[in-house]
Subunit: 328 residues, 2 copies
């Protein structure tokens, strides 16, 4: 993967105003009366990230002629749910780090991460109940449920090197694509009606989100921390067998399969993802996974082509390029 | 505290049918398509407990003449939120146990507890969006936020031996009484209207819940695992300074204060709650806390006395006795 040709900020220009509004709503929502909570929500501003999910609410709204004054609020709720999932992922990452580092303050850290994530979920749901329509509460609570189920299913499929691709996709879809899909559906449908457009945009969100997750999985086995901007190799450490590895494993002889399993599981291996790359050529798996991501993006582009020509449609199209070309 | 004079099952007889319905709704809601999730929700059936919060929705509904067909569903949502908080408390308890036991499988356990709690919250909110009125979604998402803030504030007040009683009560209230208050308010008000009755019943729930928490805090420093049915001494282990200890600390000389602080913090102490009891007489603190619980219950009883005479009113009154007399 080369340096991205697309600057995200430029892509999102057509909804820059809505994103600004979304960000102020988030700041307002995360400013609690409790000083302890404020300390923590200040702390998580480091998670800001790409805010693609919130942007999709706004872009889908503009692209379908369905944008309302409440869209930035819906976008803020979607981003807060995403933030909650990141904070809870931290609990698991914390455990990860602890396997190598002395168990100092582990309890405090875990406690903070769990409670703060819960606070964010609660705040997001509370905000959704203030909207004029119940659609966002309905779609997003069901989405959150699916997202949790995806994560739980994933945790139960650790070290499953023979997982069928459709199981991988359904799990990756549930844990990631489902929130993209909800963002696009709500953008196109909120506060109600437009069910056909909603379904179409939901499918677009799913394809974008699944593609995003597949690229993420590729970056985790091939990327460097410097380029990706977060620690890599986590999936191998965690026992998550992702599409590039599944593909290589499926086509490998028994010796190579044993080497892959050892890279994931044998005691004493320090940097498992690096070790995995040393014992097996992952390139064919990465190529295969990228081709699958490309295929999903092609489907998404066909849907985008059906939309009326607007700056938001152009932005959605550019976003598909960003998802494919990004290396962070 | 002597053996309870009140059998909870008898007290709740007037809403036995509603509780039965509430339990089937919970079973239905916790039965997910995902086999992994089902394994976990089966596992948490061990958390069943007293279901007082759900019962209060039903009792408050009956006692105010406001019971509807949807009340058991509201009760189930309240209980599922409570269950989610218990599951997330487990993450913290897990960390606690890990301080003494080898870190085997800690990651998997943490992951499961965090995701399962999230699943329960999401399921609860999703169910609330299916109700005919938005009131339950609104009240319960805001309640969950407060509950999280209470827990966060508590975590930041660990080892604070000079916490004013009103801070202790506001934290204990936020983390426990707020859900009791919401249960009673929704019972009395759902699907809407009845704001005055709602406020009155909310105050009753707050008093009951705060009293319940104070008794819990007393049992944690004085009770035995056999009697209470769960591990005791957790608050001392966790650095939570509860009302009985705050009261004793406030009236103690500097030597005794140092001994109390050491019991909470000095390295090498194995059973801190037991040690605390050995270095200081907690009885005056427990008496003081029980008197405060009693006072809250008296206030609650005055409110109950204002209700029209019904079996539900009698049950609410008996419940206040149960809260005070329980030793589990």
């Amino acid at each position: 993967m080369s340096a991205p040709k697309v600057r995200l900020e430029d892509v999102l220009a057509p909804v820059a105003g809505g994103l600004e509004r979304m960000r102020s709503i988030m700041i307002e929502q995360l400013t609690d009366h409790s000083a302890s909570v404020r300390d923590m929500t200040d702390h998580i501003s480091r998670f800001r990230g790409k805010q693609l999910r919130g942007a999709l609410v706004l872009l889908a709204g503009e692209a379908t002629g369905n944008a309302t004054d409440e869209h930035p609020q819906v976008a803020a709720i979607v981003e807060m749910i995403h933030l909650a999932t990141l904070v809870h992922d931290d609990v698991l990452d914390g455990a990860e780090v602890r396997r190598r580092v002395a168990c100092v303050n582990e309890r405090w850290d875990n406690q903070v991460a769990v409670l703060l994530g819960d606070f964010l979920y609660a705040r997001a749901f509370a905000l959704s109940t203030e909207l004029s329509s119940r659609l966002a509460s309905r779609v997003l609570s069901e989405t959150t449920r699916r997202l949790c189920v995806g994560e739980i299913d994933q945790s139960q499929r650790r070290y499953d090197f023979e997982m069928p691709q459709e199981v991988y996709e359904s799990i990756a879809g549930a844990k990631t694509a489902t929130l993209y899909a909800a963002a696009c559906e709500l953008g196109a449908r909120y506060p109600g009606g437009n069910e056909d457009t909603g379904r179409e945009m939901r499918a677009l969100g799913w394809e974008l989100g699944l593609s995003f997750q597949i690229i993420d999985d590729c970056l985790d086995v091939t990327g460097t921390q410097e380029a990706v901007g977060k620690s890599v190799g986590n999936d191998v450490e965690d026992g998550k067998v992702t599409l590039p590895v599944l593909h290589v494993y499926a086509g490998a002889d028994e010796n190579t399969r044993a080497a892959i399993r050892d890279a994931y599981t044998a005691p004493g291996i320090e940097r498992r993802a690096k070790h995995l790359r040393e014992v097996v050529d992952l390139a064919p798996g990465v190529d295969y996974a990228l081709a699958r991501a490309q295929e999903l993006i092609e489907q998404a582009r066909l849907r985008i082509a059906e939309l009326p020509p607007t700056p938001a449609r152009t932005a959605l199209d550019a976003l598909t390029a960003f998802v494919l070309e990004r290396n962070w």
